[in-house]
């Protein structure tokens, strides 16, 4: 029942984000010719690129990546503080389960939704590319899905923690957005640049892509596992902290 409750609470957000992401991926693939040839050219910088570069610029290191990162913030907003605002917290707390279990269920449902969102481009792009007589490797798409999931879990966890800490209306998404922008800004600071701490760079493999020998496919290098595991560990710590804070909060 807890799983169903968590799903009901997040399903509208999830459905809208998934539809938007899927719609954008299909737009990028099915209208690639028009976009690249400039017949109907929505994105100015995409004229005349190869298909692989087009997908990279528009999806994996472009608009879709930004959309995914920003909308993940809304997926992560949960916890009992918002139920307190709705005056439903007492009903939830009256259930014969611990606060920890309620929260862990919310987190788990959110993480599963995040995984599905990360996988969406990998499911849609290689398959729909065939419809327009183009090719995008599934392995490459899955590579980015892993990156999006790991980095997205960091954003998700930050949003979850902030929604547990900040009770004001829409204060948590504002704070999380500010935190994300600060992370990007600070990690771009010249002295920190070599460490590649920028979450958005990691998600889009910024500066690490290379061409295949035939020069028709833009490929990513091996997955940066140490960095991804660090992000996941930080996310786990933030979620644990959120659970700990919730246990001590007074409703």
């Amino acid at each position: 029942m807890l799983w169903y409750k968590a799903w009901r609470e997040s399903r509208t957000r999830f459905a809208i984000i998934a539809s938007a992401l899927a719609g954008f991926c299909l737009f990028a693939v099915l209208l690639h010719h028009q976009i690249q040839s400039g017949v109907t050219n929505p994105i100015r910088s995409l004229r005349g690129n190869s298909y692989s570069e087009h997908i990279d610029r528009l999806i994996y290191s472009g608009t879709a990546k930004g959309m995914f990162a920003l909308l993940t913030i809304f997926l992560g907003l949960g916890g009992l503080l918002r139920e307190k605002r709705h005056r439903t917290a007492s009903f939830t707390l009256a259930l014969p389960v611990s606060r920890l279990r309620i929260l862990v269920t919310q987190m788990a449902v959110g993480i599963v939704e995040l995984a599905i969102l990360s996988l969406l481009p990998a499911l849609l792009i290689p398959s729909s590319s065939l419809l327009v007589h183009q090719y995008y490797p599934l392995a490459e798409a899955l590579h980015f899905s892993i990156l999006w999931f790991c980095c997205g879990s960091g954003i998700f966890a930050a949003a979850f923690l902030l929604s547990v800490l900040l009770g004001g209306e829409y204060t948590a998404p504002v704070a999380c957005y500010v935190a994300l922008m600060l992370e990007v800004l600070i990690s771009n600071w010249p002295s920190l640049r070599p460490y590649r701490l920028n979450l958005m760079w990691t998600m889009g493999e910024f500066g690490t892509m290379h061409w295949n020998p035939e020069h028709n496919l833009l490929l990513a290098g091996p997955l940066p596992w140490p960095r991804l595991l660090t992000i996941m560990a930080i996310a786990l710590c933030m979620l644990a902290l959120a659970a700990r804070i919730t246990q001590k909060q007074d409703y």
């Binding site: 209306e169 504002v174 600071w189």
Partner: protein
Amino acid sequence: MMLWYKAWRESRDRFLLSAVTIAALCVGFVVFHRQGAEISDRPLTYLEYIWRIVYKGYLRELFVLLALLLGIGGLLRERDHGTAGFTLALPVSRPHLVLVRAATGLLEIAVLSLLPALVIPALSPLVGQFYPWSQSIQFAILWTAGGAFIFVIGFVASNVFGGEYTAPIAAFLGLLLYSVIVDLPFLEHYPLDIHDMMSGVGMPYFKSSVATLAGPLPWAELAIIFLIVISLVALAGRIAEHQDF
């Protein structure tokens, strides 16, 4: 007066958080301008650096989404919280409620737009630099107009969509859709892109070689934007009038 106080209390946390962040970032950008200018692969003048990092880049992007989120709220949210009945029991019309909330939000947008204009020229002499007040005030006017337009997207979305986070997500997607549409080839020659208007990119009143506003501000376009904003606020009031709570 009480309605204004109510609208202020509802948006206060978001506004203060946004204001503190924008002000702190402006201070940081000015104080650490030497290190910040290294972001570019070529040497930048102080004017170019401020324009790139504040008026075109990071701060503008931050401001845009903060403006969008400031627009969220209203009676549909109150219905979710179970407080709409109390608000609607007040002896004022629904359009009046909507108007006060919009006016409060627009004032907050104007204050946020003015923050860089106050902080940057005032602090620049402390680090041995100079940023003209006239430039920053003109950018503040452009940001107020652009911010008002983006604010009203969030505002209308929150009057149309119920559900806890549906309105901000819909507003964000609406803004994205708008940004894609205004870049369409048959539209990109018209000054419809609010992002370009705010930063000055490609605009006749902006001199990119020195990164300064050189010509008169586009008063006609700014007036049209404010008319659109007022019309959309009126539309939101009309929608609220017909809603069932």
